[in-house]
Amino acid sequence: MARKSQKSANYLSARTIRRTAKENRRITRQFEQKLNRKHVAPSEYATTMKDPANVLEVEDLKTYFFTDAGTVKAVDGVSFTVPRGKTIGLVGESGCGKSVTSLSIMQLLQRPQGQIVSGAIRLTQDQGQAVDITQMPISAMEKIRGKDISMIFQEPMTSLNPVFKIGSQLDEVIGLHNPDMSREAVKERTIEMLELVSIANSRAVYDMYPHQLSGGMRQRVMIAIALACSPKVIIADEPTTALDVTIQAQILDILRRLKDQINSSIVLITHDLGVIAEMADEVVVMYAGRIVEKGTVEEIFKHPSHPYTLGLMASKPVVSRHVERLYSIPGNVPNPIEMPDYCYFRDRCDRAFAPCFGEYPPMISLSPTHKVACYCYQQSADTKE
């Protein structure tokens, strides 16, 4: 962020910055107090799912960063649902808020400046119960993280501890959430997990350190850790971006297979449309902190509707689809500190017309599952109703 806001920060006087910093401290203190509470009755964050078929429901999530240069609305009113057993793909350009969305769900935001300011994140529990993650204090969140919901990161090296052996890192996760398992049982489970992710000599790998493994092996260990407690939701943030295509194919294969084995759902974050087409059942396209289009994978790839989605698809070269010139979306993403009050995509949009000069477009339904935030489709929706 530091780099992005540099330009505007250059023009802020020291006094404004001091004032903003003070104001930010006041706001974040309130959020922090709520998060740090101890002994909160579970009833306080208990809730029910809107639709019992879903395992995760994100509703109007707003996550802001209170920086000295101003408030970054990294995620600004994002809603989507994750049905049981399905894979949801989250796509968009760098900085559009994909990672912040997933970190909000995990309550792993960089605090104190990063805070969920409103919205709900409902995660299903046993016996028709559910919890609202936005209302949970840190202590309660720690109990479900890794057990009911877990995350796989882009760079496995940063999330594996370099000074501990692979085996003991996996043992720890399994032991933590299964306190009544014996040490031997935990170790057996660890080896079983390593075998599940196709690590051939799992007993040898058990005693290795992360740096002794290749990137693909490390990512497999990360998957083993994430899946060790059969979570209901797995969030995979660019799980294969740092890997070669052949290794990527292995990893995606493992993810797909294991997801079905333990019957969980995946939120898959990536900028690679090919990976999305292959893995996802439903797709959410984000632009500048908001969802601009969502639908089933067929709807998004067969009938991409938002001008941004269309641009994104046209700018990616595809093997055996020959074009003379790649399309490139003109212009830049708006400054995250001073978002405009009209369609965020208008200044880059080749379809902009009169209504676009009004306020931010509403979500328009093209089908029960296909939604798009663009005035181009207002008429077709109106006539349908």
């Binding site: 540099q6 295509v245 292995q250 294969d253 093997v319 009004g358 489709y377």
Partner: protein, 451 residues
Amino acid sequence: MANHKTSNASQTTREAQELLSVRHLKTYFPIKSGVLQRVTGYVKAVDDISFKLYPGQTMSLVGESGCGKTTAGRTILRLTPKSAGDVLFEGKDIYQLDAQELRALRPQMQLIFQDPYSSLSPRMPVGEIIAEAPRQHHIVPKAQFDAYIDKIMKDCGLQPYHRDRYPHEFSGGQRQRICIARALALNPKFIVCDEPVSALDVSIQAQIINLLMDLQAQYNLTYLFISHDLSVVEHISDLIGVMYLGDLVERGTKKEVFARPLHPYTQALFSAIPVPDPDYKMNRIILEGSIPSPANPPAGCKFHTRCRYCMAICKQQVPPSYEVEPGHVVNCHLYAGSPVVDDLVGSDDMEQQLTREKLAASGDIAAGAATARGQLSAEEIVSETLKEEARADSQGAVLDRGRKWMQEREQQLERMQADRRQVETAAAALQDEAAPAVRPDDSSKTEESLK
């Protein structure tokens, strides 16, 4: 080929102008160990690659990370010392040049890196970053210097007022433009692009790829393009070389290699490309295990530890280069029976095949056919060799695979084109429907009317 006038002429002139010729190039890094730092082995980063490049062409090197792509690029530029082989740039062996001759040649061979940030000095304004080297090398007379730098910046999509800004004030895509401008300002003939777009967003990637292709057309640049993104490679290249553990295991024109990947590794690599089409059911070859260490590569064919067609001979003998189709060369025992080529002969044919493809594409079918006269067509050669093999032993699988590939690719292409047409008509219809009564130019009016 000889019986067509224009192609003949272009052929001879091109041969004379051959820009780069790499022959049996090897780069080994010594592994030292012990107190005495004795050399106990070598990492064979580049282990015998050969190819030729003509002006205006783009050759891509593809392969998994660690297979030696970057080292190959750097050795060709003499930025990393070679262990064996030759690199000829415009007929001159660059490893025979003395320091002064090399310095004079440097501007003509440039390198663009993956990470545009770390390769730019943070304390220098952009104008100076671009102008520094051309000033030292006296690329243009002093009087025209400023105008020259302005033009280069403009060609690279930078504005003249960017001259006084510092690199940190630019976005990733703009920084890559600065790097390209810096290389271009030296008026190079040959640029090694090492993963130039891998660190960029898809939409920015498209801008940079377009820029590289525009500049190539404008300045007749020759690129050695290194990338692991096969869809980008397919878009930008004329020729493809596939590397595995330091070896160039397959090379040919882009069309040939993508339409008929011959080497089992290439087939696996290409089958792993994710396709943005949910209906496309991939017939994926998952490679087991990981890439062996280049310090201790497997004997015989280096790929035999992961190859699904591995035969007894593969574990003992290094496969020679077989030319399966004109200009399409592969190092694999499956194609025994095809003519064995010295690497350079193969490269020349690769060039001719490209000329044929270009002629055919430009509608000059007659010329294309004429150049091909006297030789078996590509398909004939493939089917001949493959048939023979299928008879010889149980390698019928290869034949099937080849056919399946061709079919799958064609179907996929058709489907995508159909979808594209559909989307376009839908979009066009929508635009007609939503045709605005007031154009955005009248924004003031509109805003009022909206209120």
